[in-house]
């Protein structure tokens, strides 16, 4: 900055006198509520105020969308404004020496008037509204308004339940016409299907008549950016109150993009993904397909290790499973092939591949994983495995050959592979097809998170934890490694893949010292150049507001999560109806 001092122009010789030279060259210096702010030119007042901890309220403004300045909530006093007038802080650029006041009598009166106006026809049905607890109307009403309605007569009645598509439902009465959703669909999703129809109080958000329903893979984002409860996610709707949920920073494992998310959880169940800000990968967005991948974390999980195939399977304990697995692998010593699924985290693969190389003594690792699917123009990729890059890196670092899945199936059909250990039960072909192939194996042991035809075909299934149940890291398609945080302990009798690998190695005579995924990474990542430089501890996003205190709140207003994050209430044996 100091290098640019000589840029200062010489004093103008004649009239008119130009503006004073900037206090900080290249930057704009202004005063907000008595605090001096140095900001880049082009910053708007809201962002400049945020930098010094001044909150300017807003509804329609969104950092990643164009400015509409239609909610009029962010009006502030500025020394550069015409006398007696307020300026919208979202739309007005900053200039040198401007004095902005956000907490004057006039601004407060304006905020109160806007709130009264926005709430005029709002149904105030917070008791059945899922946004309650993370609603900006609620928060700003308490902070800036706190007055009873003066409306006489009835409120304007609109459609309370309009299904925009299978994922999004619209309540036109709750809408404050901020047009965030309209702008998002046009600018980010590139599917301009929403619009504002009608006039005055009867204005509504609706789908353009040309479209029957909202047709986009990014429609779920308009639920996130809706500042009120007008747009709601039918998948999450009515399932939990926002203030009962806690949040853990995680990623979506639906495809190789690896969008940063928050896993909102209660007890040992994840309730939804919320996209987490990540400039490099997903900005503030995620796709509808990924949004529903949280279901695999809750449903059809392998909760207990299982012995036996098909209908003969019986649940066994973790210790018994380990004992049996060691026994069976010992019997097939030297003949066991190893397949690894790129759905597992880096730590799982590090421990798993070390186990394969040093204990099973394999030279080749077969890459399993989910079959490829459709990608799209924005975030969704065709490769449905979140950690393929990680698997490739680790295999290369460990000096193992990573063979495609077809090689394995060919070898199985030719009878060259008679015993198989699988880290992860996802396979890139139809589950039934692979299950039929696996029937011929003399030994098939697999660590699995979810039940499938493949786990049915295994002689021994070892219950494994999913990625939100342990600390870990993933490397997405562009080579960016991201840390995920643990939300809750593994469900049932499951333990992470890396723990199975470490325990099996110990049972088979190799002492691996790791007792946590952190230790696995510290001990084994040195061999992998891409991971050796990754700062495992420093790159971990915070999962607590302050160290040692609770979990992150899932509600947007940041109030602490309720007591229920520790588990569901004991119903004393009361049987719930099926399907609940």
């Amino acid at each position: 900055m100091s290098d640019e001092k000589k840029v200062e122009a010489p004093k103008p010789v004649g009239p008119p006198p130009g503006p004073p030279p900037p206090k900080n060259p290249g930057m704009v210096t202004l005063t907000i509520d008595g605090k001096e702010v140095v900001a880049k030119p082009g910053t708007n007042m809201i962002e400049a105020a945020k930098a010094v901890g001044v909150d300017i309220p807003y509804y329609c403004y969104h950092p990643r969308l164009t400015i509409a300045a239609n909610c009029r909530m962010c009006m502030v006093e500025s020394s550069a404004a015409p006398p007696g007038k307020l300026v919208p802080a979202c739309q007005t650029g900053i200039s040198e020496g401007v004095v902005i006041k956000t907490d004057t009598e006039k601004v407060r009166a304006q905020q109160k008037m806007v709130m009264e106006f926005l709430l005029l026809n709002h149904p105030v049905d917070c008791s059945i509204c899922d946004q309650a607890g993370e609603c900006k109307l609620q928060d700003y009403y308490m902070r800036y308004d706190f007055e009873a309605s003066r409306l006489e007569g009835g409120k304007v009645l609109k459609n309370k339940r309009k299904k925009l598509n299978d994922l999004v439902v619209l309540d036109q009465e709750r809408c404050i016409i901020c047009t965030r959703c309209v702008r998002f669909m046009e600018e980010v999703a590139k599917a301009p299907q929403l619009g504002i129809f009608g006039r005055g109080s009867h204005e509504v958000v609706d789908i353009s008549p040309a479209y029957g329903k909202l047709d986009s893979n990014y429609s779920g984002n308009i639920v996130d950016i809706c500042p009120v409860g007008a747009l709601l996610n039918t998948d999450f709707r009515f399932r939990a109150r926002a203030w009962f949920l806690s949040a853990a920073p995680s990623i979506c494992t639906g495809c190789s993009r690896g969008c940063s998310t928050y896993a909102d959880f209660m007890g040992q169940d994840t309730y939804r993904w919320r996209p987490r800000e990540n400039e490099a990968i997903n900005k503030s967005w995620m796709c509808d397909v990924g949004r529903l991948t949280y279901k695999g974390l809750n449903k059809h999980r392998v909760l207990h290790s299982g012995l036996g195939r098909g209908a003969e399977v019986k649940d066994i304990s973790q210790a018994k499973a380990l004992e049996l697995a060691v026994e069976k692998l010992k019997a097939q010593s030297g003949k066991v092939a190893f397949m690894a699924s790129p759905v597992a985290s880096n730590e799982d693969l590090l421990a798993g591949l070390a186990f394969a190389r040093d204990v099973l003594k394999v030279k080749t690792v077969y890459a399993s994983g989910r079959p490829a699917g459709q990608g799209d123009h924005f975030l969704l990729t065709g490769d449905k495995n979140p950690n393929r890059k990680g698997l490739e890196n680790i295999a290369r670092g460990f000096g193992l050959e990573l063979a495609p899945f077809e090689t394995l199936t060919k070898a199985m059909d030719a009878g060259q592979v008679t015993a198989l250990f699988g880290l992860g039960a996802e396979v890139p072909e139809a589950d039934e097809v692979f299950a039929a192939r696996a029937q011929k194996l003399e030994l098939f042991v697999v660590t699995a998170t979810n039940e499938s035809k493949v786990t049915e075909a295994a002689h021994l299934v070892l219950a494994a934890a999913v990625h939100v149940e342990d600390e870990g890291s993933f490397t997405q398609e562009a080579g960016i490694t991201q840390r995920v945080r643990r939300a809750y302990p593994p469900k049932g009798d499951a333990q992470p893949h890396w723990k199975w690998a470490v325990d099996l190695a110990r049972g088979l005579g190799l002492e691996m010292k790791a007792t946590s995924s952190r230790e696995v990474f510290k001990q084994l990542s040195a061999a992998v150049p891409e991971l050796a430089t990754f700062e495992w501890d420093k790159k971990a996003p915070l999962n607590q507001k302050r160290p040692g205190i609770g979990t992150l709140s899932a509600a947007a207003d940041g109030r602490p999560p309720g007591w229920r994050e520790q588990g569901v209430p004991n119903l004393r044996g009361l049987t719930l109806p099926p399907g609940t």
Partner: protein, 236 residues
């Protein structure tokens, strides 16, 4: 200090010497016996009023003991008794599963699961409220009878006006109350209830009119609201 200086001097108390009458105790003993006898006769022959409001009791006798459980007193007005879920006119609970009671409950004894009425469901009052409780369970053994759930309810859907306490039982399971056991008592409705404002969650056909003209025309009301009256729960 100055305030202490101006303090008034203590008044001297004079000792009164007891006279002969007091020193013999005889009249005092007779007085005491008379009082006891009066109460004895009053309680033996007098009528007894068991009004729960002690100040309002009219009977002659001063006995307040009740031979429970053969005799039972009525609980006073405002008594926080066993919970009930208040039914609507159509027999379903007024509750919309907003979780306010479960949130405020200091004993964490309320468990709720919310469900959604289908859009095509046009039965009675359900047509305008999408949300309802699939499960509403109160563990009465955990309940501390504080009444906060009643205060927190925005829909007047849970009340403690049954004027009975939780009956005793032999197993803990019997104290877990679900919807069939909680949903009892007279139906309640308020003029502000949403089904008086509209026919369904779809926009009404008069939507193009301004709000004041709609009210004047009277077309906006699906049904005329009943007069507000405080429903009293019949005493057992």
């Amino acid at each position: 200090m100055s305030s202490l200086m101006h303090h008034e001097p203590e008044k001297k108390r004079e000792l009164v010497e007891a006279d002969v009458r007091e020193r013999t105790y005889v009249p005092e003993i007779l007085k005491g016996i008379a009082l006891t006898t009066r109460h004895f006769l009053r309680n033996l022959f007098g009528e007894r009023d068991t009004n729960p409001d002690v100040v309002e009791r009219k009977g002659i006798t001063s006995i307040t003991t009740v031979n429970y459980p053969e005799e039972k007193v009525d609980y006073p007005p405002g008594y926080r008794g066993l919970h009930r879920l208040v039914p609507r006119e159509d027999g379903k609970p007024r509750c919309v599963a907003c979780y306010m009671c479960a949130t405020i409950c200091p004993a964490q004894c309320i468990y709720i699961e919310a469900g959604e009425y289908g859009g095509e469901d046009d039965q009675a009052e359900s047509r305008v409220i999408e949300k309802y409780p699939k499960q509403f369970v109160i563990d009465e053994l955990r309940c501390v009878v504080c009444g906060l759930c009643v205060d927190a309810c925005p829909k007047d859907a849970i009340r403690m006006d049954t004027y009975t306490h939780t009956p005793s039982g032999y197993d803990r399971q019997g104290f877990v109350y679900d919807i069939p056991r909680l949903l009892q008592g007279p139906a309640v409705s308020h003029p502000s209830d949403p089904w008086y404002k509209r026919g369904s969650s779809a926009p009404p056909d008069h939507v193009h009119k301004e709000a004041h003209t709609r009210i004047a025309a009277g077309g906006g009301l699906a049904k005329r609201p009943p007069l507000v009256e405080v429903m009293k729960f019949p005493k057992p």
